[in-house]
Symmetry: C2
DNA sequence: AACGAAACGTGACGATCCGTCAATTTCTCC
DNA sequence: GGAGAAATTGACGGATCGTCACGTTTCGTT
């Protein structure tokens, strides 16, 4: 036997360069998006920075939009495990919320590279893309809320509106946090958590 | 005296067609944005629908982005008076919030033409533009919150985070409302209002 | 090691869009 | 009416788009 007694297949030069090229394009795209904004960047801007030929880009992605989606998915894949971990160790609904907000705000701050990407420098346009991975994250949240309501840990309120509110608060507050002089994700998470916890109680009480 | 005994200047053909052309471009843009999505539409798509020459577009707007901004401003100008009215007749903070949310959700529903504009049909990209008029609306809200806190009508919480939360809740909930089978802006406004009112109380209480 | 097939990178190509501008038409005012 | 300002027009150079035929690299086989 020459090789592959291990289950994993040896890389193979073909797949190596393929993965390298794909990553090179993603890295270049991240940089260019952050520099020019999503709206102003062109496929050529991205591929130029990699040294590859223009046609090669289309072997990996179908459009600028699709690279952006891949980058969003990358982010979502990085943050979802942290959210899951937080979710598992939460004993109370309040702890659950606080963990989620804190992880999200912290991530956005340490990553703001990727967050600035969503702002088109020209004008005041903001782009947001709900990719499959992002949506999956939203749905995990939604499932936990449904389950929390079913188990009586969360008061019986409109789960869709609640999920939407959490997402809206998280994204809009994140936007303010990254522009603060001395951002404090912990403080922000406390604010958001108490807002929601106190709010739900009142919603459930029916006024 | 031939004319203009009234203070108002007679229209004048020049200004007439100018206003007509501008409006034609705006109307065409609204239709095309709603049809193709913001990302996919080109200046040519817009101008083609008006029958004007391509060069004429640039006599009125500098770019696709600027037409979009004009459309957003139009919307903001339409809704701000309604919000102001609601704000003036509000006796309590709760009434204030409820009025704002109800007006906003109702507007979004009856206008969803303009709301769909923000969705790029291709993929799941959403664009949002905070134009001067929109920002002015946000700041009016912020000012009222600051004032409410100063007068003791609103508990003393972080006004920036509170404003952000309101905006986040409003936009994200609006997104869900327009996709519901039988949308009820009143119910949604009640949810949002109680969420915030109850939440603020808890935030102010400090846990 | 040599070979053939398949996969991949390359850059040129036609189509389209961008923003500009000189020529032309339309309006205003004397 | 007619001079002059203002606005419209469409063609132009520059650039991007997505495709495709071609050349090169890799892989499995003999």
């Amino acid at each position: 036997m020459s090789e592959t007694n291990v289950a994993s297949v040896p890389p193979g030069k073909r797949e190596q360069t393929k993965a390298a090229n794909r990553q090179a394009i993603l890295d270049a795209a991240r940089a260019v998006f952050a520099e020019l904004g999503y709206g102003a960047t062109t496929v050529r801007d991205i591929i130029r920075r990699t040294g590859l030929a223009s046609g090669t880009f289309y072997n990996y992605f179908r459009s600028k939009e699709e690279v952006f989606q891949a980058l969003m998915d990358e982010s979502a894949l990085r943050i979802r495990p942290r959210l899951k971990e937080e979710r598992l160790k939460a004993k109370t609904f309040e702890g659950f919320l606080h963990g989620m907000f804190a992880v999200f705000f912290t991530y956005v701050l340490e990553d703001n590279h990727g967050y600035e990407m969503m702002r088109a420098n020209t004008g005041a346009i903001r782009v947001r893309m709900d990719t499959p991975e992002v949506i999956a994250g939203f749905e995990e949240l939604r499932v936990d809320i449904d389950s929390g309501i079913a188990r009586g840990v969360i008061p019986d309120v409109d789960a869709e509106y609640l999920t939407a509110s959490l997402i809206g608060i998280a994204f809009e507050m994140a936007d303010r946090i990254v522009t603060r002089d001395d951002p404090d994700p912990e403080e922000a998470a406390r604010f958001a958590t108490e807002l929601v916890v106190g709010g739900i109680a009142k919603v459930a009480a029916g006024g």
